[in-house]
């Protein structure tokens, strides 16, 4: 199906998922305003949110199924498979977050149905980021997502730590947005457009490869996105914010928010700036320091939540390796890794949420001692997550890492691949102690893990995550085909490719 986005009908069709979710959000807003007192209201909002995500997922599926594409250059919004797969990723992560939040919110007495509404808005923002065909749309999506997540980070407003996290995130996030916006302005100054594909064409046709204004703008864009994906040296906010936010929100931030940042970054770099030779080396530099610093600092953590937070920084470094490859293979590896990391990380944070009380920042790795003896299934689930994060064969994390390595080696970056594997050896030093504590140490007292509770929905979501991690570790074929196919649709808008191949 070819969409002509200059007609209203096709524009509505092309934006169907976003429109559906926005409409649903408005309905939800009314419901929440009307019923926001009891735990029952909270559950109602949760179920409605899930229904909204499911419906939106179906809308995305319809666009994917009909192979909707734009004719010629995409205007404000891109219509390609990359967007659809990224949307599924966001919707899936948000849906799992909802499932994990049911028990958590009641347990922590966070009777605020707005929580779910904010999740919906954040997801909407992400979808615009990944699907934006224009820097302005991407920026709007980013702001919509960020503002919702600022509030989510501080939703537990009775706790000082949560408030601190929200404030820190907001201040630094605002800074990052400013950088991004200034970068957009400079890019506009150099090329006269904010449309991604047109920027690529302008760069090629006007010979702007070494234009100072453009390079400066690109640099500022990288800084802005670097903040959002928590790449070193722009990661300073991440550990404190991840630590202070309610744990399901942390899981959401570590997976979906980060994925949105990466999806937008990959789109901008591949579509607009593939003609510029400088950026891959900058991204390589970023990934270099991110992998090393993230892993080394994670090694020093004793708190499980902070360890996962820093490890998430390290994973951003691995993903940046995929970004730096800058071709379809790298983008496919990025998508696959984000999916694998998403399932794994969500499950890990959910297990942490079940273990801890009051923000979970006080759960030490050694507090898990003896978990395998009393709660074998939960210990098994966490062990699978740790091995997947470590990139061990048999898990989705391994296939993801393998894919990134393959893309890097094929792209002539063998030494970067070697650095990636060497830093993941470091990560064994902090993932293995978790397994070690659970299986090889004995519990300090008899019912040390009695309080670890999972509701039925949480258990289902956890089982889904772990099953997906194991399944995609052994049979990745379908997911590989999906990510490969979708990355191939992310065509660079440079002069090398025929301008209107869609016609």
């Amino acid at each position: 199906m070819t969409l002509d986005l200059s007609t209203t009908r096709d524009l509505l069709l092309g934006l169907l998922p976003e429109i559906a979710l926005t409409g649903w959000a408005l309905v939800l807003l009314v419901v929440v305003a009307w019923r926001h007192k009891t735990a029952g209201d909270l559950r109602l909002a949760g179920w409605l949110t899930l229904a909204g995500f499911a419906g939106t997922g179906v809308a995305v599926w319809w666009l994917w199924w009909t192979m909707a594409r734009t004719a010629g250059i995409a205007p404000m919004v891109a219509v390609d498979d990359f967007r659809y797969v990224a949307d599924w990723l966001f919707l899936g992560a948000a849906g799992l977050t909802v499932l994990f939040s049911f028990d958590y919110l009641e347990r922590e007495q966070l009777l605020a149905p707005e929580y779910y509404l904010l999740l919906v808005f954040a997801t909407l923002g992400m979808m615009l980021m990944a699907g934006g065909g224009d820097l302005i749309v991407i920026f709007l999506g980013l702001e919509l997502m960020s503002v919702a997540v600022y509030v989510l980070a501080g939703i537990d407003r009775k706790r000082a730590k949560a408030a601190e996290a929200a404030l820190k995130y907001f201040l630094l996030g605002a800074f990052a947005s400013a950088f991004l916006l200034y970068g957009i302005a400079l890019v506009y100054g150099a090329t006269g457009t904010t449309n991604l594909a047109l920027i690529g064409i302008q760069v090629a046709s006007l010979g702007l490869q070494s234009n100072l204004l453009l390079l400066l703008g690109l640099g500022l864009l990288l800084v802005g996105f670097g903040f959002k994906v928590a790449a070193v040296p722009f990661h300073m906010w991440a550990p404190d914010v991840y630590d202070g936010a309610p744990t399901p929100v942390t899981g959401f931030m570590a997976t979906a928010v980060k994925a949105a940042g990466f999806a937008a970054l990959a789109r901008v770099l591949v579509v607009s700036f593939s003609g510029i030779v400088a950026w891959p080396s900058i991204v390589v530099g970023l990934s270099f320091v991110t992998m090393i610093a993230g892993n080394l600092v994670a090694l020093a953590q004793r708190s499980l939540k902070r360890m996962l937070a820093y490890s998430s920084v390290a994973h951003a470094g691995y993903i940046l390796v995929a970004v730096s490859v800058g071709n379809a293979q790298g983008t496919a590896a990025l998508l696959f890794y984000l999916v694998a990391y998403g399932f794994t990380s969500l499950a890990a944070f959910a297990l942490l949420a079940a273990k801890g009380r009051g923000g979970e920042s006080d759960v030490q790795i050694d507090d898990l001692a003896g978990l395998a003896a009393t709660r074998p299934w939960l210990a098994f689930a966490l062990a699978v997550c740790m091995l997947s994060l470590l990139g061990f064969p048999g898990t989705a994390g391994f296939i993801g890492k393998w894919y990134i390595l393959a893309a890097a080696v094929a792209g002539g970056k063998g030494w970067l691949a070697a650095l990636l594997v060497l830093t993941s050896v470091i990560s064994a030093g902090y993932y293995l102690p978790v397994i070690m504590a659970m299986y090889m140490k004995s519990a300090p007292f008899a019912d040390a893990h009695a309080g670890m509770r999972f509701g039925r929905l949480g258990r289902v979501a956890l089982a889904v995550c772990v099953a997906a991690v194991l399944y995609y570790g052994i049979r990745p074929n379908r997911l590989l085909a999906l990510t490969e196919g979708s990355a191939a649709t992310l065509a660079p808008g440079m002069g090398a490719a025929p301008l209107s191949s869609g016609n």
Binding site: F392, G394, A406, A410, A417, V421, L422, M440, L480
Partner: protein, 505 residues
């Protein structure tokens, strides 16, 4: 029917059995595991007769796995892997039986890990797809990590993580090198495949990249062997592991390293492997390992540590034999791999049996126990002598072949390696003297029970193998000869200019 399915059955059966363990009561777990491991061995026995020595790769299965990346489930057995597979399936039931009393808690989990480990070990030896090989190579880490970490000695946590990280460090770099080979062959042929035969045929000359790739493979395998100076994980892991863990670790896991050299590092990178500097370096490291391992073993107060260091020495012989690249030396190296598995495996069993009786592994805690436990002392003496390489036992045949073969290529190295045999006699006989002979001067040792029937059953098959290989190794040698010759021909081009010039001198 048998030929097409045997390898797959060998891989799947232990996994099924490990799953089945959770369906039976905890107290029956060990019996079920023993039955499963025995059946696994029984399945593998016909390989011995069905194997055609000159037939190259046999029992092959190829099935696509991740077709878009050219990953397939490709397994097979040749004259090199046949004995490694048989050694594995032979020792696993014995390890299960040997753990009957040693493992007293979480038995079900222990035997499940042991069975999963079996799949991993057999998988490493039969994999003919580099992706599959890597997966198996890593997967077998997890059960071993748990076996050391849960059922090990006092410093088990340290030993387990050290073992894990050392192995992972080497193997991850190998992963990058595998990808390098994959893309090199793809660039030359346009076909993306991890298949062993395809890559071997199409990688071709690699230039400088070959050095990096070889370095990565070398590191992975050298850590596993372990070659000096990469051996420091081994004493910790061996000493802390429970008996069955030590036996499997010494008998099978170390062989994965030498097997890796034979299967991958040499055939893929003959230019690098035969480069004079590399050759000299590896020969020197092997010699250092032989002599240093022996000398360090001599001063150990702990019997288990002594046996552990003796592994470093024995594996040095294997490396030397492989790198000398003569038919005798390679066959000898393969034989030493088997012999070390049998002798050192038996030594670890015996040390474990002593430990179960006295809860001490210190040599000075014993003395004169030959009078109390005559049967035990007899077996220990025989096994020690086979480990030293007394003629008539298996150890002699292997080391003798290696030394003959090496003498033709590196006479000086052969001379130095011979001192390793003498050192081995020194540390083992001295230890033997202090443990079972001397005066019986400790009251605790006067009431030690002799070998039980169960323990005897564990040891007898190994003793039988020791004498069989020692007296009549021909069936084994004739089965491995074509594969060894093929390897040498592949690595060393027949009209070798260097050989001609040496002959001319």
């Amino acid at each position: 029917m048998y030929d097409q399915s045997v390898v797959t059955v060998l891989l799947v059966w232990p996994l099924l059995a490990a799953g089945a363990l959770w369906l039976v009561p905890e107290r029956l777990a060990k019996h079920v595991a023993l039955a499963a491991a025995t059946i696994e061995f029984a399945i593998s026995i016909p390989l011995w007769w069905r194997f055609v020595p000159a037939g190259g790769m046999q029992f092959e299965v190829v099935r696509p796995w991740v077709a878009s990346w050219g990953i397939s489930y490709h397994v097979g057995v040749d004259g090199i892997s046949l004995f490694m597979v048989l050694l594995t399936t032979f020792l696993v039931p014995l390890s299960v039986l040997g753990s009957y009393h040693y493992i007293t808690r979480r038995e079900r989990a222990f035997y499940a890990h042991l069975l999963v480990l079996t799949t991993g070990m057999v998988g490493v030896f039969v994999a003919l797809d580099l992706f599959l090989f890597y997966v198996m190579w890593e997967v077998m880490l997890i059960p071993m990590y748990f076996i050391i970490g849960i059922w090990g000695g006092e410093r088990r946590l340290y030993a387990a993580i050290k073992f894990f990280i050392y192995t992972m460090f080497g193997s991850l770099l190998m992963l990058v090198a595998i990808l390098g080979l994959y893309f090199t062959a793809a660039a030359k042929t346009g076909v993306h495949s991890f298949d062993y035969d395809f890559l071997l045929a199409n990688v071709g000359a690699l230039g400088t990249a070959g050095w990096w790739f070889f370095g990565a493979f070398f590191l992975a395998f050298a850590i596993k062997v372990p070659m000096f100076p990469f051996h420091t994980w081994l004493p910790d892991a061996h000493v802390e592991a429970p008996t069955a863990g030590s036996v499997i670790l010494a008998a099978v896991l170390l062989k994965m390293g030498t097997y890796g050299f034979l299967r991958f590092a040499l055939p893929f990178f003959p230019d690098v492997a035969l480069h004079p500097t590399v050759q000299a370096g590896i020969v020197v490291l092997s010699l250092v390992g032989i002599v240093y391992g022996g000398l360090v073993a001599m001063v150990q107060p702990d019997v288990k540590k002594l046996v552990a260091y003796s592994s470093v020495s024995h594996l040095g012989f294997v490396m030397l034999g492989i790198w000398a690249l003569t038919l005798q030396s390679v066959q000898g190296a393969l034989l030493v791999m088997i012999n070390h598995g049998l002798s050192t495996g038996a030594l670890f069993f015996l040390v474990g049996m002593l430990y179960e009786r006295r809860h001490s592994r210190l040599i000075e805690a014993y003395g004169g126990i030959a009078r109390v436990v005559p049967l035990f002392a007899t077996v220990l003496t025989i096994v020690s002598l086979s480990s030293i390489g007394l003629p008539g036992t298996n150890g002699f045949v292997g080391e003798f072949l290696v030394l003959i073969g090496v003498f033709r290529t590196y006479p000086v190295a052969a001379g130095i390696a011979t001192t390793g045999v003498i050192v081995a006699a020194a540390y083992l006989l001295w230890a033997l003297q202090r443990v079972i002979f001397n005066r019986l001067d400790k009251a605790e040792n006067e009431k030690l029970p002799d070998l039980s029937l169960r323990e005897f059953v564990v040891l007898v098959p190994i003793l039988a193998a020791i004498f069989w290989i020692g007296l009549y190794p021909k069936p084994i040698l004739s089965r491995m000869e074509p594969a060894a010759q093929q390897l040498i021909d592949r690595v060393q081009p027949a009209p070798s200019p260097s050989a001609a010039s040496t002959a001319g001198r």
